[in-house]
Each structure stands twice: as C-alpha cells, then as structure tokens.
C-alpha cells in the first residue's frame, strides 16, 4: 500500500501543472536547505572546540545541555510558523478499499522524514561523534543522541496537535520570552534546570525511555485526532461559517471603482490568507522598532531607509505582489463581465495607496526617535504610494500561478515564483541603492528628497503608467486565464 501512496505522490509532484515554472523557486529552496544543512553540520563538528576555547574550564556538553530547553521551545515556535501537516489528497481514497488506519499511519509516518526533523540531526549526530571521539562515555552519548532524535520527533508530533490552535502559539511564545526574561534578569536560571535534565541523561542513558514514551503517546493522540477527522464534514470540507454581511455602502462614493473596492474588501476580510496579509501589514509598522533604537544602525542610514520602506510598505508589498492571483479562482468570470480594465486596476491601486497612508498615520509615534527618522518614513511612504504600487501592479501581470484562498496564510508559498524574488530589486533595493548613492555624495536630506521625488514622479505620471499597465494586462489576458485554470 505504501508503494501505491509513494507512487501517487511522485506523480502528483512531477505532474503538477506548474512544476517546470516553479523550478527556479525549487532550486532556491534547495540551496537554502543545503545552506541550513551545512550550517548545522559545521556547528555540529566545530561547536565542541569553539566552546572549549571560549569557556576553557567548562564541559562543552554541559554548555550545550544548558541551552537545550531554549532550543526545544524555539524549535516548536519555528515549526508552528513554518511546518504544516503533510497533506495528501485523501478524498478520492476514502471510498476505495483502503483502510483508514493505513492512510493515517502513512501521513504521520511521512512527517517523520520532514526536513524540519532532518536539519537538527546534522547538528546532533556530528556533535555526538566528536564527543565520543573526545573520550566521553559511549553509552551516555548515544543515550543523549537518541533522546535528541526522539525529542525532535516529539516536537514534530506536538506541532500537529497545537498547530491549529492560536492560543498554543501565544502560550509558547510567552513561555519562550518568559524563560529568556527570567534568565536575563537573573530571577531564575533556566540553564541550570536545562543542564541538570540533560546531564542526568548522559549519566543514566536509561532515561531515554521518557522521550520514547512521550513520543508514543503523542503519536497515538495524533493518530486518534486524524482518524476522527477523515470525514467530509471535518478535515476535507471546511466548516461553513455564517456569512457576515457588513454594510459597505460607504464605498459607493468611489464611483465606478466602488464595486471593485467593495469586492476587494470582502476578498481580504473573508479569506484566511488575505486576512493574514492584511493583519501582518500592521505588524510591519513595528519593523522600525528593530532598527531605530539600535546604536549600530545610526551610522547606516541606508539600513534605516530600508526599514522605513517596510514600515508603511507591509500591505503594498505583501498584497500587491499577488495581484491579480488573489482572484485566480474567478478571474475567468471577471474577464467575461462588462468591466473597465482600467477601473479594475485603479481600484487596486487606490486600495494599496489608502492602506499605505493609513499605515503612515499609525507610524506617527516614530517622531519619538527623531524628526529625521520620521522624514525617512514619510519619504518611504511617498515612494511606496507613487512608485511601488505601479511597479507591483505591472509585475502582477506576470503572475501566472493560482492561489487557493482557503489555504492558511503563514508560510504559505502558493502563488510564489521566481518573479516574487525579482520584484524585490525595483521595490526595495532600488530605493535603498539610489538613496545611498545620493547620500554618499550630497548627504542625508538630498537622499531622502530623491526618494520622495521618485515617488512624486510616479504619482504625477500615474495616469500615463496606469495606461501602460492596463494595456499589458489586456495583452496577457489569455495567458493569465489559462495559467489560473491550472490547479496544482
């Protein structure tokens, strides 16, 4: 049976209708994975000697042990954000003579080999080899290594249980921040607790039983949950939410754009991923807090400009990138309607601009960090409204991948292609580059004025560029319709 499943997945992967087009993205992801593996590998090999050198009178294993609790909590948070249950289109299999238990075992078994579980092995295994090489007790080290492997798997299965639960995420985040705070303010030394737990394990490898039992329990819980969900009204079919019909008549003042704007607002608010993007853009406003207070960045205005662009650019960047793929499911229908293409695009431009201005208003407290920072944000806003909206709308005409609006938002790369990476060049790197060049020769104010001017030029000549963009969309209409029809 497993042979069948594997063969099906192999075919699904390679027959995905945008497999070849997604190749560039896959290669980039591949390089990223390779990079991660190499980093972990070199950490595994060298950290023993590095620790030995920096803290000479310590036992490197004990040092590592003292931080393991942090690593485990951090791992869980990382998984929560990035890792998803391996999906398999089970619907066609439900009515075939295949035991449900087999399906569940297969899906869970597959997750054991997830990259999230493999990466850490690249650290733990070489580190253990070094330890044994350095004369540590072989049984102790092996017990430690197996515990680490089992704990990684525990993390894997814990994640699936808590993944659908927002409360669990915040609880984890609070635990992590809390332990770091306890540590930082010397209230309670978590490293001592962590170290005593894992040191004990090296002395008594028999304790490896504990994570093993934990893992088995977690597996059984997962199994029960999943098996109970193999029904059309659970896992397969989304729950039907009662439609909330907010009154959007206020949008009527936008004239011919009104129907599009209303639809766009409903699109954003009623779908998971767009809603995440929308809410995330408010988080982006805080981006400046990472850079502005730091002394190191005061001497690097280019970095600050970069941050300023993000402060108000969250919505333009994240939402604008996938125009018009958000509407891929019914793009055909839109195109068969009596709509003015220009008005359709105008409404999107309008929405992005309004959101950027709203975010700019929310960013007002940044004055606290000095007028120069605030001016940076203002210049960034102008650039986002005037320049980036147009670039992203233009780039949108190259979007060829449909997006399933019902899929979750976090870490969802659906609709992503190499194009999404390329577009970073004009929208992020260009303004920073231009600023830096002007700043280098003429100073800060001249640099900011240049960026603002670029935005203004875009605003003034908006009509001209929007016409060009509209023509491009009309030209590509058939290719886009065809591409949006292709499902994964």
């Amino acid at each position: 049976m497993i042979k069948h499943f594997l063969r099906l997945e192999w075919k699904q992967y390679f027959r995905s209708s945008y497999w070849e087009k997604g190749l560039a993205l896959k290669i980039i992801m591949g390089f990223f994975a390779l990079y991660m593996m190499l980093s972990f590998l070199s950490l595994g090999i060298f950290s023993f000697f590095i620790i030995k050198k920096t803290v000479p009178d310590s036992d490197p294993l004990q040092v590592v042990n003292s931080f393991l609790l942090f690593a485990i909590i951090g791992d869980l948070i990382f998984r929560y954000i990035m890792q998803k249950l391996p999906v398999m289109n089970i619907k066609p299999l439900l009515i075939l003579p295949i035991k449900k238990t087999k399906l569940v075992h297969y899906v869970l078994g597959k997750s054991v080999f997830s990259a999230f579980n493999i990466f850490s092995l690249f650290f733990y295994i070489p580190f253990s080899v070094v330890l044994i090489n350095e004369g540590y007790d072989v049984n102790g080290v092996l017990g430690w290594l197996f515990t680490m492997i089992l704990l990684t798997q525990c993390g894997n299965f814990t994640n699936f249980i808590i993944n659908k639960n927002n409360i669990a995420f915040w609880a984890l985040a609070i635990v992590l921040v809390g332990t770091i705070a306890l540590q930082y303010y010397d209230i309670y030394d978590v490293t001592v607790l962590s170290q005593s737990i894992f040191d004990g394990l090296v002395v008594n490898p028999i304790f490896v039983i504990t994570p093993l039992v934990l893992l088995i329990i977690l597996y059984i819980i997962n199994f029960k949950i999943l098996k109970g969900q193999l029904y059309l009204d659970d896992a397969v079919k989304q729950k039907v939410k009662e439609a909330n019909t907010a009154d959007l008549s206020w949008a009527n003042r936008f004239g011919e754009m009104a129907p599009f704007i209303k639809n766009e607002i409903r699109l954003i608010w009623r779908n998971k991923r767009t809603k995440t993007v929308f809410l995330m853009s408010f988080l982006f406003v805080m981006y400046g807090l990472i850079f502005f207070p730091q002394k190191t960045y005061q001497e690097m205005p280019a970095m600050l400009v970069f941050a300023s662009l993000f402060v108000t650019g969250g919505f333009v960047l994240n939402y604008g990138q996938f125009i018009p793929a958000w509407e891929s499911a019914y793009y055909k229908m839109l195109m068969s309607q009596n709509l003015s293409y220009r008005k359709y695009l105008d409404s999107k431009w309008f929405l992005m601009s309004i959101m950027t201005v709203v975010l700019f208003i929310l960013a007002t407290p940044y004055i606290y960090f000095g007028l120069d920072k605030y001016l940076m944000i203002a210049a960034g806003t102008l650039f986002n409204v005037g320049f980036n909206t147009l670039v992203l709308l233009y780039a949108g005409s190259f979007n060829r991948k449909q997006i399933d609006l019902n899929a979750s938002g976090f870490g969802n790369t659906q609709g992503t292609s190499a194009k999404q990476f390329i577009v970073i060049i004009p929208v992020m790197l260009l303004p920073v580059g231009v600023f830096y060049a002007v700043y280098f020769f003429l100073g800060l104010n001249a640099g900011l004025i240049t960026i603002a001017a670029l935005g203004l030029i875009g605003l003034v000549s908006r009509n001209y560029f929007m016409n060009l963009i509209t023509q491009k969309y009309i030209r590509d209409k058939y290719a886009v319709i065809h591409a949006f029809n292709q499902k994964a």
Binding site: L8, R15, P92, I95, K100, Y231
Partner: protein
C-alpha cells in the same frame, strides 16, 4: 442488502436528513429523487461513511458502515469529480483502482474493453490527465471505475448530469444490465425523472430530508412524479 435505521444528520440546528427506516433488498435498482437540498447526497455520504450521521446506523451487507470498513471491498461508488485523482491519466486511474480491487492489468484491460462504446473514444488513449478532461468525460471515467472489481453495491450520485444525450442512453443500458441478474444492488440519485424511472424499479422521493414517497416503478410512475414536483 442495505438497512438504514433512524438515520438523521443535523448541522447545528438544521436537520438535513431524517430517515426512520429504509431497506434496500439485494439486486434492486434503487432511485433517489428530490429537489436541491433534499438530502440525497447526504444520504449517500453517510452510506459511504464520508460523513457521520447524528443518529442511527446504516448496515451494508451486514457491515455497519461507520464501525467497520469491510464494506469498501464490495461497494463501488462515484459521487463527483473531486473523487478522481486529477493528476493521473484515466488508464493509470483504472489500474490503480483495479489494483486495490484485486484486478491485474489484463483484468482491467478486458474490463475496460466492454465500455469502449460508453467512453466514445474520448477517455482512453488520449494522453491527458483526468483533470484536463471535460466534466462529462471525467464523469464517464468515474462511473466506470465505480463498477470495477465485481462490486455487489454500486452507488452513483447524479450519474446523468453533465453527460451528453448519447452517453445518457448508453449509461441507462449499462445500469439496466447491472441489475438484470439481481446480484448487484444499484443506487442512483437524479434530478431527471424520466431517466430514473427508466432505470430503477423502485423510487424514493426525499423532501427536506424526509422520505415522502416510496414507489415501485410502473407505467404511471413518471406521471405521478411529475405531478408531485410540479407545484
């Protein structure tokens, strides 16, 4: 063959299905009729253990469907196109299902050969994935796949929808031969009253989840149904 007892399904407060008792004997050609939302697909979904009933049980050949999965070996079904595996070619799909139902490649070949006419040269050997076929051709593949491996029960939801007239006529012929020797129980739901009266010897009408009519098909049945629905 199939006994339903006290079957009900509620979503929140709305009850979409409530059948006290429904017994379908072996070898019967059974038709389920009703307007949209009458509960036809819900009933089939419960019968196939795709959703759980709020109360009651369905027994398929002495197997309680939500307790054991043994019914899967003798039950073939097709609900809609989402039950196809879109990235397979029709041939691969048939091979896959044949494999699960204990048929080897040669068995599958000879089985499919009977239905060459039904496919109308549109399904096999086209070098297309199922997802790229038209709705009607997808349906043809799904219906034939439901009949693979000598099932004792065949369940088809709206089999006539999306099919061209020629194929509808051919499908009626296939369904009639299926129930001919009274070995195979066939359950069909449909909106098309004339098709269903032609194929089925018994017709049950559902309305808002409740059985309102249970008729043995006769010459007057079509008229009776038409007058019932023309309100």
């Amino acid at each position: 063959m199939i006994q339903s007892k006290n079957i009900s399904k509620k979503y929140g407060k709305t009850e979409v299905l409530n059948i006290d008792s429904l017994e379908i004997p072996k070898g019967q050609g059974f038709g389920l009729v009703g307007n949209n939302g009458a509960g036809k697909t819900t009933y089939f979904n419960i019968l196939l253990d795709l959703i759980r009933p709020t109360t009651g049980t369905i027994t398929n050949n002495n197997v309680v469907v939500n307790e054991s999965e043994a019914w899967k070996t003798f039950t073939g079904s097709f609900i809609d196109e989402t039950f196809l595996i879109g990235y397979l070619t029709p041939e691969e799909y048939f091979d896959f299902i044949g494999d699960l139902r204990g048929m080897n490649k040669a068995d599958v070949q000879s089985f499919l050969a009977q239905f060459e006419e039904f496919f109308g040269g549109e399904v096999l050997g086209k070098k297309k994935y199922l997802r790229d076929l038209s709705k009607g051709n997808q349906k043809k593949a799904g219906i034939i796949a439901a009949m693979m491996g000598n099932p004792q029960v065949v369940i088809l939801d709206e089999p006539f929808a999306n099919l061209d007239p020629t194929t509808q006529i051919r499908l009626k012929k296939i369904l009639k031969t299926l129930t001919e020797d009274r070995e195979i129980t066939v359950l069909v739901s449909s909106h098309d009253l004339s098709h269903v009266t032609e194929v089925c010897e018994r017709i049950v009408v559902l309305d808002k989840g409740i059985v309102v009519k249970d008729i043995q098909t006769s010459a007057e049945t079509l008229e009776e149904l038409e007058s019932y629905f023309s309100v």
